[in-house]
């Protein structure tokens, strides 16, 4: 008789949570939030059920691209400390299962978004999944130090999709929200690459820290932060901005610029001495930065429905 407790394959059998982890729930949170803000900031009303369902399908589409990314990157995930416990390297989920889940959920989410919202939104979701899974994961990530810069577009599409769900068309404001995430992504990930020192080196991922060195990465963080600050504050003067957004944006960008300046001004010896405290603080601030910018856009949009907010 077989004692099931002795069988490694069974002991390692996946729980529902392991399949959920394939969908990168933390990335999904950001996608849901930014897509929701894009939808609510648009100058058109959406039925609550249609809005809820559409955002859910965008989240499922984002999850599907996460599963495809984990399937493709399983080899490097097992090398990097940050990702070694993901379901595939941990042996909980088979690569084929992740691929099937990713492909299945991609079709389901695109088809359902087309039915619940409109075909343009569905087309944009399909393009986003393709961009993240194929353009970023398969082509760019292991080929160029610009991986994060160009690949960042995949994470920047959700507010545009949200806007299209509401209006059925593109607009300058939607692309400004896209640009905000697009410009934010490089300094956010490069700060992470600075203090997760050996991870990308070990996995042979050509991050800027590996190909151009750490001083160059520090300079790039500074340059992108300056461009980001101009864009973020400038957005405050458009139709999605207002006094509240502008105030929040000016404060956050001042803090972000100070952080980037401090990163630029120090060398590796100083960073190692305090265990990358400045870089870690900058990374943490970057999370609040994006959340509060989109939160302010949401507040302005909410106030506008009451005849306040905006300019």
């Amino acid at each position: 008789m077989t004692d099931v407790s002795q069988t490694p394959a069974l002991e390692n059998e996946a729980e529902l949570g392991d399949y959920f982890a394939l969908l990168k729930p933390r990335v999904m949170q950001l996608v849901v939030f930014t897509a929701l803000v894009g939808m609510l900031a648009a100058p058109a009303s959406v039925h609550p059920v249609i809005g809820f369902a559409s955002i859910l399908f965008v989240a499922i589409g984002a999850g599907a691209s996460g599963a495809l990314n984990m399937w493709w990157d399983a080899d490097i995930d097992s090398v990097m400390r940050r990702t070694a416990k993901r379901p595939i390297p941990a042996g909980k989920v088979q690569p084929g299962e992740a691929l099937a889940l990713g492909v299945g959920l991609s079709f389901l989410s695109v088809m359902m978004l087309g039915l619940s919202a409109n075909l343009l939104a569905a087309g944009m979701l399909l393009f986003t999944i393709f961009f993240y899974a194929v353009v970023y994961s398969m082509w760019l990530k292991r080929a160029t130090p610009q991986n994060i810069v160009i690949g960042g577009a995949a994470g920047a599409f959700p507010p545009v999709i949200g806007w299209i769900i509401a209006t059925g068309s593109f607009s300058v404001e939607a692309w400004l929200m896209f640009a905000l995430i697009f410009m934010w992504t490089p300094p956010h990930f490069w700060a992470l690459a600075l203090f997760m020192r050996s991870d990308y080196d070990d996995a042979n991922v050509p991050m800027l820290t590996v190909t151009h060195g750490r001083p160059a990465t520090r300079r790039h963080i500074m340059a992108y932060t300056v461009l980001l600050a101009l864009l973020a504050v400038g957005t405050g003067f458009t139709a999605i901005g207002g006094y509240i957004y502008l105030t929040v944006s000016v404060v956050l960008n001042l803090l972000f610029l100070i952080g980037a300046w401090r990163i630029w001004q120090r060398d590796e010896a100083a960073a190692e001495a305090d265990n990358y405290m400045v870089e870690r603080k900058f990374f943490r601030l970057s999370l609040y930065y994006l959340f509060l910018h989109f939160g302010a856009i949401l507040v302005e949009a909410s106030l506008r429905t009451w005849g306040m907010g905006g300019w």
Partner: protein, 61 residues
């Protein structure tokens, strides 16, 4: 080892099956509600791609 009616693996599988069942049930309900909303919102009296009749947009009497 004593034979138990339910091994930890069985509990794990049960949790997985219940989870998938609930998600499928939720999906069915969502599609049903979505269909209801879409049907009640759509004006089936006008051809696709045509403008709303004047009365519907508050036009002249």
């Amino acid at each position: 080892m004593a034979i138990r009616a339910e091994h930890e693996i069985h509990t794990r599988r049960k949790g997985r099956n219940v989870g998938v069942g609930l998600m499928l049930g939720g999906f069915v309900v969502l599609v049903m509600v979505l269909t209801f909303v879409k049907i009640t919102q759509t004006d089936f009296t006008r051809a696709p791609g045509t403008a709303n009749p004047p009365a519907a947009v508050g036009g002249q009497d």
